[in-house]
């Protein structure tokens, strides 16, 4: 294949490895176009910005998940860690009276620590990530309920200001969380492409046995990606607590599936070793736009909502594959 492209140097076709991402991007554009034609208010630029506003936390969580999936692992605990973070933040702020500048680093640390611990178990005891993080999922959710079974509202001024202030561009705006999420994505993308940690992440996903024999620090990398995912989940939890201004044990139920779906739709292989963070951003947008289309439609009953989400997912992934396959030839 490589030599094939080489034969027609004049033909500037995109590198093969970017095709999944490009396919996703073009389909996303088409989807947006369809929405804009069907629903009048849809074409307002703010609609797209709202997709970011409403999914900033998912974006951060999915970014962490991308690291883990790139190594060929998976992290099912993210949704629960998000919930735990909201719960911890709320209870520390409201009930323990901690100041925000102490709460923030603390909850982020707890998230990273949970991820770190899971990474250690996965690596040193050679237990499958799916199971370790499933246990982590139970643990974090269980910890939520030990704090409280009901929701705790957050009234801290810093939190409320993060929730209610807007970053404006002319008539458009986003929330500060969106900025945070974008920074996370940019930093993440940089780490993946320009640091040893990032490259080792890809290498382990490509072939863990080889990575070990090549003398790469497999242990450190593997544990770090889970710590990153834990950190991102906690950060996502903080953003969610800005968004909701509450802590609750039932927040973010099933978010792990959304995050995994976003990563995979973005073109990252679950077997590891191949994919980009930009893809994950697109994946989150796809989920967000599907949701938006359904809300704009406003005529679907509960079950039709689910069926239509499933159908749109199907069409999207199918087309993505078809386009990808055609371009790759």
């Amino acid at each position: 294949m490589t030599s094939l492209t080489g034969r027609w140097p004049g033909l500037r076709r995109p590198q093969r490895k970017y095709i999944p991402v490009l396919a996703t991007l073009s389909l996303l554009a088409v989807m947006y176009g369809v929405g804009a034609v069907r629903y009048e208010a849809f074409s307002d630029g703010q609609v797209i910005l709202n997709v970011f506003v409403d999914n900033a936390f998912l974006l951060v969580v999915a970014a962490g998940m991308t690291f883990v999936i790139l190594t060929g692992g998976i992290d099912l605990s993210v949704g629960s860690v998000v919930a735990l973070t909201t719960m911890l933040s709320a209870s520390l702020l409201q009930e323990q009276g901690w100041p925000p500048y102490a709460v923030l680093p603390f909850v982020l640390f707890v998230g990273a620590l949970l991820g770190f611990a899971m990474g250690c178990i996965i690596h040193y005891f050679e237990i499958q990530p799916f199971i370790v993080t499933l246990a982590g999922m139970f643990l974090a959710r269980g910890l939520c309920y030990t704090i409280s079974t009901s929701s705790i509202p957050i009234t801290d001024p810093f939190w409320t200001s993060m929730a209610q202030s807007k970053v404006r561009f002319g008539e458009y705006f986003v929330s500060p969380s969106v900025i945070v999420a974008l920074v996370v994505v940019i930093v993440g993308a940089y780490v993946l492409s320009h640091t040893r940690l990032g490259r080792n992440t890809y290498a382990i996903g490509g072939n863990p046995a080889s990575a070990l024999l090549m003398g790469l620090p497999v242990a450190r990398t593997q544990i770090t990606v889970y710590a990153i995912s834990g950190f991102c989940s906690a950060l996502g939890g903080v953003l969610l607590s800005f968004y909701m201004l509450s802590g609750y044990g039932l927040h973010a139920v099933g978010m792990e599936l959304d995050a995994i779906a976003a990563v995979v739709i973005g073109g990252t292989l679950l077997t590891g070793g191949s994919g980009y963070l930009v893809g994950t951003v697109l994946g989150v947008l796809v989920l967000g736009v599907i949701q938006t289309i359904i809300t704009f439609d406003g005529t679907l009953s509960s079950w039709w909502t689910k069926i239509v989400i499933g159908a749109l997912l199907f069409v999207f992934i199918l087309l993505q594959r078809v386009i990808g396959a055609r371009k790759a030839r």
Binding site: F138, G142, I265, W303, W304, I317
Partner: protein, 357 residues
């Protein structure tokens, strides 16, 4: 020589099951502290009655789902849609029966069962087509049906809980046959069928081959696609039966809650049973033990009286312990045995060969 070899093999599998079985027993014994007659099995009203029977009876749907999941996982796949299939099949069967004038008509019930399982096969075919035909990653391919299927189940029930009153249907998940809960017999039958299908024919080996190395299998002439499709169809079929059991047990179909999160429990059961999520080797016996372990855990939580807000912590603890103890790496690192120093001494009287200068 053959005999000794197969003897060796089964010793191996036995060792693989040693830990899950031990933990299962420990868990059951723990109940004894709280409920002295936990192990008592009696005949009450012509039925076997007792906590142990309950564990198997309530565990039967999980065994079914995990059984299908085992084969899917062996091909390096995963099926997230089983919960939705459970809901859909229960819903369709109950809808059909509720529409009958005589809900107790055996013919009507059989039609309902046939329709529901037929639909399950179609859904399995759909999953198999997406994975093997279109080439989607299994987790995403089955996520589609997981999401849409819940909607479908609710569409069938119109969002309500369909309640039926049908004695023949009740038999499937809540009835007894020769004093034994029928669901246990069904699960036993399915396990026996799966074992026969995979170990008496070459299917098991071909599945393990496809899961171990799909490309090598293709080049060895194995119709990997057909096998993958078959496995998803079987998995959906098992989930369909589980759906019938669950809805029959409570004589109603709940499109929303039936089989919710059962996929996670099933995957957990498979892994506890020693089948790797990376595909390849699988163990049906292990899966059954895993499923029973999970059900025993729930029952223990109820009988011991773990408060609801800490049940998840408890579950996390047990899952972690089970997996750690099962992990050879953990045992090696934690209960580190001394290195055998004798190896060198024993080899001293070797026939040392001359070394060129």
């Amino acid at each position: 020589m053959t005999a000794s070899l197969s003897g060796h093999m089964s010793a191996l599998t036995r060792r693989r099951l040693f830990w899950p079985v031990t933990i299962l027993i420990v868990l059951l014994l723990a109940n004894l502290l709280f409920t002295p007659d936990f192990f008592k099995i009696e005949i009450r009203g012509g039925h076997l009655y007792g906590s142990l029977i309950d564990i198997v009876r309530f565990g039967a749907p999980l065994i079914m789902v995990a059984l299908g999941m085992t084969l899917v996982i062996a091909t390096r796949g995963i099926d997230l849609s089983v919960g939705s299939i459970v809901a859909i099949c229960g819903a369709l069967a109950c809808l059909w029966i509720s529409g009958q004038d005589d809900q107790n008509s055996v013919a009507g019930v059989l039609t309902a069962v046939g329709l529901a399982l037929g639909l399950a096969l179609v859904l399995g075919l759909w999953n198999g087509f997406l994975v093997a035909g279109v080439g989607m990653q299994p987790i995403i391919a089955t996520l589609i049906l997981m999401v849409a299927g819940r909607g479908l189940a609710q569409l069938i029930t119109d969002g309500q809980i369909i309640t039926i009153n049908s004695t023949p249907y009740k038999l499937i998940g809540g009835g007894y046959w020769l004093t034994v809960p029928f669901s246990i017999l069904l699960a036993l039958g399915a396990v026996a069928l799966a074992v026969a299908l995979t170990r008496r024919t070459a299917l098991g080996m071909l599945i393990e081959s496809v899961g171990g190395n799909a490309e090598a299998s293709r080049l060895a002439g194995i119709g990997s696609r057909r096998i993958i499709v078959m496995v998803y169809v079987f998995c959906a079929f098992c989930a369909g039966i589980a759906g019938l059991m669950i809805s029959s047990n409570v004589s109603s179909a709940d499109g929303n809650n039936a089989g919710l999160w059962i996929e996670l429990d099933a995957i957990l059961a498979v892994v506890i049973g020693g089948t790797s999520l990376a595909g390849g080797r699988f163990s049906i016996g292990g899966t059954v033990v895993g499923a029973l372990l999970i059900q025993a855990l729930s029952t223990t939580i109820y009988t011991v009286g773990v408060p609801p807000e800490t049940t998840l912590l408890f579950k996390a603890l047990v899952v972690t312990v089970v997996c750690l103890i099962q992990s050879p790496a953990f045992r090696a690192k934690v209960f580190q045995r001394r290195r055998r120093p004798s190896a060198r001494a024993a080899a001293r009287e070797k026939t040392k060969v001359e070394v060129a200068p």
